[in-house]
């Protein structure tokens, strides 16, 4: 390779890198723009020219949203339902994943197929009957009602099964030789060995649940029970008809998960790839 062609390749590489950077910045720009707009007074927001930084920096929309609206309530609802859904999904899925992976019992195969099949089936089509069911159980407008249909999460089971499958058989046998019962094997050996997986799955389940819209939107008819994801689009007295305060509420709704992501970036990305690791 001659020196000039090497330089040429470096140049091309440099351009690609630069392009990637520019696109990345443009990509995130709407987020930046939303945040900046929410920090402007309403009359500044609708000025007919581009103003990349507020002339008058104001937190009035945030103060308004936090003090005058039910956003605090919605936060609590979102946290409670997302945490609840995460804990329940993780714990039940872990048990099933373990049983599928390590135990032999009648109808094990059909059960596994049922779970795989439910991965394909759109839960969105079940909204009508979920609504009827939850209504009949008297669980509309309750955290339990919001959580219940979110527990269908075959991906978590499948990932757990795959991870338990990958644990060398020796560990199980060593534990059996060590007189450990089935539950001790699960909770003292397999679970602790897979903490990384559990954390990762918990993170994605939490994000999914926090972000879920359709079901919480249907299952709640009372404003004080709404999750924040739904609330900011459904209740108008909170924000009037103005743009900046709506954006402030949106920023508040996105903030917890965004912060969680920025703090646990590596874990989250790992979790995402994990959640897609389906090999059928």
């Amino acid at each position: 390779m001659t020196a000039s062609s090497a330089r040429q390749i470096n140049l091309v590489g440099g351009i690609i890198t630069l392009l990637t950077l520019i696109i990345a910045i443009l990509w995130a720009f709407p987020i930046y723009w939303g945040i900046v707009s929410s920090l402007k007074p309403e009359n500044e927001v609708v000025r007919p020219y581009i103003e990349l930084w507020p002339e008058t920096l104001t937190f009035e929309h945030y103060i308004f949203a936090l003090t005058e609206t039910q956003i605090g309530r919605w936060y609590i609802n979102s946290i409670a339902t997302a945490v609840g859904a995460t804990i329940l999904t993780i714990s039940t899925s872990m048990l099933v994943g373990y049983a599928l992976s390590q135990l032999r019992f009648p109808l094990r195969r059909p059960l596994y197929w049922l779970i795989l099949a439910s991965f394909m089936v759109p839960t969105q089509t079940l909204i009508i009957n979920h609504f009827v069911l939850v209504a009949n159980m008297g669980l509309l407008n309750t955290w339990a009602g919001i959580i219940l249909p979110q527990l269908i999460n075959p991906v978590v089971i499948i990932v757990y099964k795959q991870f338990f499958d990958q644990v060398p058989r020796d560990f199980r046998e060593a534990a059996v030789m060590d007189n450990a019962g089935e539950f001790r094997i699960l909770f003292k050996v397999y679970m602790p060995m897979n903490w990384g997986v559990t954390t990762a799955l918990a993170i994605v389940t939490f994000i999914w649940s926090w972000n879920s819209f359709l079901w919480p939107f249907l299952a709640v008819t009372k404003t004080e029970m709404m999750t924040i994801t739904v609330g900011i689009t459904q209740v108008s007295d909170a924000f009037g008809v103005y743009y900046a305060s709506q954006l402030a509420a949106a920023v508040l709704a996105g903030l917890p998960v965004a912060l969680a992501y920025l703090l646990f970036q590596r874990r989250v990305t790992q979790a995402i790839t994990l959640s897609a690791g389906i090999k059928g």
Partner: protein, 355 residues
């Protein structure tokens, strides 16, 4: 310390029989090696003793107690796994104590046993580390320690050295042998490495194709292999086999050479003549040997030299020469057989040894 008796035990996986009516008695305090190629059933047999595989038929007595239906934890045996199976999230101490805590042993007693084992294996300093912070050799010790603390009737080893590098393997081999002498406990050791088998065991059980081919001391199986399989499997480089026919106290090989064979075979027939390389010598002068051939490859191993020779009929044979052998590839050499170390094998693989 306990005697282990296998009485006609059998096992099948589906319709495939993997262990067929094996009977075997292992004396208390004995170090027995199960040796065989992969798929010979040696691991299965060990796991049947451990309780990790069911015994379909037959009886297993450990220390006189019928154990074939007991769950693994109650057989009073301990096992060291090939990959050690150390629980990665537990410290060395917890790894060793796990089994004892599972049977709700009192904490002071658990601690005493862990300390004793650690001292015996010289790993007191490692007790609070996790497996990921240990070297391969150290992990190996922890795995053994985990077995020792249980003070079992017998130790079961499943190819425990196969994950170590060559030098460490030799050292650990010696340590294991020492440990056995010190503890004087019953040990069953599975390996496919004949050197391990030869160096450590009191007796070797050679398995092939789900059957026991031979049980004997290392020297017995080396000098008087019961079958063609054992003869070929034991020894490195392995025994030479030459086809020929036996008649009236002599073998006629395919290249026409005749070799006197004082072997009590029942009748004249075609046999295979077996002779170890160390019993085949390269002769100085021509015409002195039992046969001759052309040298293809010469391997200088230092204290000895292996000479690969093709006989005139094309069959290959390995001879052993002194450390400073002058033989060159291409040379025509004569070979002399030490006829006291001849073996003959019939078509079924049965062996007759020179008298």
């Amino acid at each position: 310390m306990a005697e282990i008796i296998l009485d006609k035990v059998s096992k099948s996986f589906g319709s495939v029989r993997v262990i067929n009516e094996v009977s075997l008695t292992i004396q208390s305090g004995e170090f027995v090696v199960f040796l065989g190629p992969s798929g010979s059933g040696k691991s299965t047999l060990l796991r049947m003793i451990a309780g990790l595989e069911t015994i379909d038929d037959g009886r297993l007595l450990i220390g006189g107690k019928e154990s074939q239906t007991l769950p693994p934890g109650q057989r009073n045996v301990a096992m060291v796994f090939q990959n050690y199976a150390l629980y990665p999230h537990m410290t060395v101490r917890d790894n060793m104590a796990f089994g004892l805590r599972n049977i709700k042993m009192a904490a002071p007693e658990v601690e005493r046993r862990v300390q004793d084992a650690a001292r015996m294996l010289e790993m007191d300093a490692l007790l609070d580390r996790r497996p990921s912070e240990l070297s391969g050799g150290q992990r190996q010790r922890v795995a053994i320690g985990r077995a020792i603390v249980k003070e079992p009737a017998a130790f079961l080893f499943d190819e425990p050295l196969s994950n170590l590098d060559a030098a460490l393997r030799v050292r650990t081999r010696v340590e294991l042998a020492e440990l056995h002498q010190r503890m004087n406990s019953t040990m069953i050791y599975v390996t496919h490495d004949q050197t391990e088998a030869m160096t450590m065991s009191d007796r070797i059980v050679i398995l092939n194709d789900c059957r026991i081919e031979q049980i004997g001391t290392p020297m017995e199986v080396y000098t008087r292999p019961a079958s063609r399989f054992v003869a070929g499997f034991i020894g490195s480089p392995s025994m030479n086999f030459l086809k020929g026919s036996y008649k009236d106290g002599a073998m006629t090989l395919l290249d026409g050479s005749r070799i006197a064979a004082r072997v009590a075979v029942p009748e004249a027939d075609t046999y295979e003549l077996g002779i170890r390389p160390e019993a085949v010598k390269v002769c100085e002068g021509e015409g002195e040997g039992d046969t001759k051939g052309q040298v293809k490859v010469v391997e200088h191993l230092g204290e000895r030299t292996l000479v690969h020779v093709h006989l005139s009929d094309g069959s290959a044979i390995v001879a052993q020469d002194g450390g400073r052998s002058p033989v060159q590839p291409g040379d025509e050499v004569a070979l002399r057989f030490d006829i006291s170390e001849l073996h003959l094998f019939d078509a079924s693989g049965k062996a007759w040894h020179a008298e």
